[in-house]
Amino acid sequence: MLVLKQQFIEQIRAHGARDYPNECCGALLGHDEEADRTVLGLVPLANQRDDSPRNRFSITSEDVRLAEKAAGAKGWELIGWYHSHPDSPARPSEFDREHAWPWYSYIIFRVEHGEPREMRSWRLDDSRTSYAEEGIEYIAGAPA
């Protein structure tokens, strides 16, 4: 289960609305426990796919390192990523699967005509052939 405060949901949705019709992306920081994973912070990032931002996103290794440093500075971990699917379902595409890493939580949310819609979280399985959907537990409250 991915535990997500309402304020983070709103921030992620606002990012998707702001960047529509392009895909938005960002990092999820928090703690990974055995049963649950809790998001404690976000790092909104710039989509580096200037050539095809409406249906592709890219986060450079330098930005990944920055996100890791941001997590480490707070005693947190880099636990996953979020990105939007403009006018497209909140499910992983084949392109998502081909480029995914195991272990990370991948939040994908649909932005329909500029309006954020459903949000789902996914984890790539170890064989790289499929995803398991990860439940999202929404809780009230402001970010830490």
Binding site: E23, R54, S58, R65, D96
Partner: protein, 105 residues
């Protein structure tokens, strides 16, 4: 040369939960081969079926990206740190893409 290979968080489960592994190698390619020989489950996440490093797998020697050096033929020195660093990519259906799940669930 004795080098340290830093394992990114998503792959530590396949490397005995270690944050880094010490290996003997003369080049980056040798180090990665030694790593995947020791931990075979890492291979499919680092390499595509054609034997090439996946495009979203970035490798640094100390703080230099091997793409700007000699790639996997980059020589390593005693005490060097080789870091495997993810880049992240994806995207929705559209253009050349297709939906992974074909049915609503």
């Amino acid at each position: 040369m004795a080098v340290k290979v830093v394992i990114p968080t998503p792959l530590r489960q396949f490397a005995g939960k270690q944050e880094s592994v010490n290996l003997e190698a003369a080049t980056v390619g040798e180090a990665l081969n030694a790593l995947t020989s020791q931990f075979s489950d890492l291979k499919k996440h680092l390499y595509s079926d054609d034997g090439r490093l996946r495009s979203f797998v970035n490798v640094y020697v100390n703080d230099e990206d091997i793409r700007y050096l000699q790639k996997e033929k980059t020589a390593v020195q005693q005490g060097d740190t080789i870091s495997i660093v993810p880049s992240i990519a994806g995207g929705c259906v559209g253009g050349a893409g297709r939906l992974y799940f074909s049915a609503e669930n």
